[in-house]
């Protein structure tokens, strides 16, 4: 059974106890070390998360109070919260129909030749740095006397949100069982009817989930709003999207650029509120997704 030459180093006695022979001890050590490194990497990532969140919570908690949330500057940041809510709501209104329509196009209508370019467009849109989107909307609408406005910032955010909503919707549309579509076709039901009354309702939880997640992303986006809706001082409530609106991420940014320690406290407080909202959106969407997945695979 020897292959060629005598190889005493690698012969083994099959009847020996089943313990490591040859170089196996060393290989086990290498394997364990590397596995340890992988565990360490994961632990490090979670540790960073905990450290950052803990810093926000511990520094921001002291700023939080009822006044802080509801009053305008200088006591609170109420207008900023309202402003962000208005801008994000507008952005969602703009982005959601487009995201869903594009996803519908890809899943129901696109042939093999049109799928790739549209998918590519979505991927590129998804990877656009938000500063680029900000500069674009600025150039298009704000420069040359256009002026800042809440809705323009919402438009920039919508551009960022559309690929996220489209991608999430695509995934859910894919999950809708093929036989439902086939049944509708066999009954002679028009495409548009089956889409509106069967497919979309089945995919709705997933679409909402994708929307919530993109809202969470948009709420924290600073660059677009920095360029397009940053001039409002936050000392008065404003919901008029035709003018600039005070908002949360820009305020945090401005406070971080000033060297004022009191401002820092306000920034920590704002950060805490922002993270809390994002966390809530994330958890809520995940719960929604799990519930709908369970229903669909039943």
């Amino acid at each position: 059974m020897r292959f060629g030459h005598h190889d005493p180093e690698h012969e083994f006695d099959p009847t020996a106890p089943l313990l490591a022979t040859g170089n196996l001890r060393r290989r086990h050590l290498t394997s364990r070390v590397i596995q340890g490194l992988a565990v360490a990497a994961a632990v490090a990532a979670v540790a960073v998360l905990v450290i950052v969140v803990w810093a926000v919570v511990s520094h921001g908690a002291k700023a939080i109070s009822w006044d802080f949330i509801t009053k305008p500057a200088p006591e609170g940041v109420g207008p900023n919260l309202v402003g962000t809510a208005v801008i994000v709501a507008l952005a969602t209104l703009m982005a959601m129909p487009f995201g869903v329509l594009i996803a519908l196009f890809l899943s129901e209508y696109a042939g093999p030749r049109s799928t790739r370019p549209v998918q590519l467009i979505l991927d590129v849109m998804n990877g656009l740095p938000s500063i680029i989107v900000a500069v674009f909307v600025f150039a298009l609408l704000v420069a040359n006397g256009g002026g800042q406005a809440g809705w323009k910032a919402a438009l920039a955010l919508a551009i960022i949100m559309v690929p996220l909503i489209a991608r999430g919707t695509q995934e859910v549309l894919r999950l809708v069982p093929g036989h439902q579509r086939e049944a509708a076709d066999a009954l002679g039901v028009a495409r548009w009817r089956s889409v509106l009354s069967i497919i979309l309702p089945a995919a709705l939880p997933g679409i909402i989930t994708a929307t919530l997640l993109s809202v969470a992303r948009a709420a924290g986006e600073t660059a677009p709003v920095l360029l397009i809706s940053s001039l409002a001082p936050g000392d008065a409530f404003s919901v008029n999207p035709l003018h600039e609106l005070p908002n949360v991420p820009v305020r945090i940014f401005q406070l971080s650029e000033e060297a004022n320690p009191e401002g820092f406290t306000e920034a920590w407080g704002l950060s805490l509120i922002l993270i809390a909202i994002i966390l809530a959106l994330g958890l809520g969407s995940r719960a929604l997704l799990n519930r709908s997945k369970r229903k669909m695979t039943r």
Partner: protein, 321 residues
């Protein structure tokens, strides 16, 4: 049962015959003994220990055909579901043992338990004991990597690495530190798997470009390149066309004697062609659920010619499917 029967089973000439390398009859050095080590303690049941001072050439006359595997009262569970019940079996060195039976009767489960490949299934549980050369495979200090180094396995679907043909074969030897004579080792492994002539000019090509039958022979070559003690084959030809299947069967014939081989097959004719001993598994309903059971285990001619158990007879004569 004493092992005098076992002694009688050994063919003296078989021991002294030089080992054939492949169908072309390229032969080893004539005095190369099989890899049997002198034991200082006797195996249970063996009559008298071989004297330590005997020369290697004389000593093999006294050595009993060891049981490579001894399974005692083996029952296997996946969570609450029981897949196998109470299997007792002894697998002998140098022989080809076939496990046959209808699908779902636990033969693959049993095979994979022989080299602890079932460990990766989370709900796997085993009762009873499987001994390999006397050592409990599921013992507490057992190194599973070592187990798999000694007991190799070829799977139903060919699963070559996305590497060149050469690197596929050379990968495991390199891990084991066998850097010298690697070229030779790869060539011998490919010859042993009856693949050398077809690939010798394209060793650097990707293994994924080979046909299904060639990929499977590559996997066999990969397994024998590290010279394991045992080869477990899990339905190696079931994913292949008839011509490739024939090549695999010839291959098993040529490997017989150099390795202890256990092969699972749902193809009875294949078992009849290649195996020395055959084990027939089937599903028996105990209580509510059917559980895999070892019905009969004997020499292949007996199983197919004059089976003792009516269930065996039904199966091998095709009375049920």
């Amino acid at each position: 049962m004493t092992d005098i029967d076992d002694l009688a089973d050994i063919d003296r000439e078989e021991l002294e015959e030089p080992l054939a390398m492949n169908g072309r009859g390229h032969e080893e050095g004539s005095s190369a003994p099989r890899r049997i080590r002198l034991r200082t303690e006797p195996l249970p049941g063996v009559i008298g220990p071989p004297a330590a001072t005997e020369s290697a050439a004389e000593s093999h006359l006294h050595i009993a055909p060891e049981a490579v595997f001894e399974a005692q009262a083996v029952s296997i569970f996946y969570g609450k579901k029981q897949a196998l019940i109470d299997v007792d079996m002894r697998i002998r060195r140098g022989q080809v043992t076939a496990l046959i039976g209808p699908s779902g009767c636990g033969k693959t489960t049993f095979l994979r338990s022989l080299n602890r490949m079932n460990d990766s299934v989370p709900s796997f549980r085993i009762e009873g004991s499987i001994r390999y050369h006397g050592h409990d495979i599921y013992g507490s200090n057992v190194d599973t990597v070592e187990v798999r180094r000694r007991i190799g396995m070829v799977f139903q679907k060919p699963n070559p690495f996305p590497k060149s043909i050469f690197d596929n074969i050379a990968w495991a030897p390199r891990n084991l530190g066998m850097r010298q004579g690697l070229q030779e080792r790869v060539e011998k492994a490919l010859r042993g798997a009856a693949l050398w002539d077809e690939v010798k000019d394209r060793l650097k090509d990707s293994a994924l470009g080979l046909s299904g039958g060639q990929q499977q022979r590559l996997c066999i070559a990969r397994a024998i390149a590290i010279e394991p003690d045992v080869l477990l084959l899990d339905e190696p030809a079931s994913a292949l066309d008839p011509i490739a299947t024939g090549a695999i069967e010839d291959l098993i014939h040529s490997l017989k004697g150099r390795f202890t081989i256990v092969i699972v097959t749902h193809n009875m004719q294949q078992a009849a062609r290649v195996a020395d001993r055959t084990a027939f598994f089937s599903l028996e309903t105990r209580g509510e659920k059917p559980i895999g059971t070892l019905i009969e285990f004997d020499e292949t001619e007996k199983i197919f010619g004059s089976p003792r158990d009516p269930r065996t007879r039904d199966y091998v004569t095709g009375r049920f499917g």
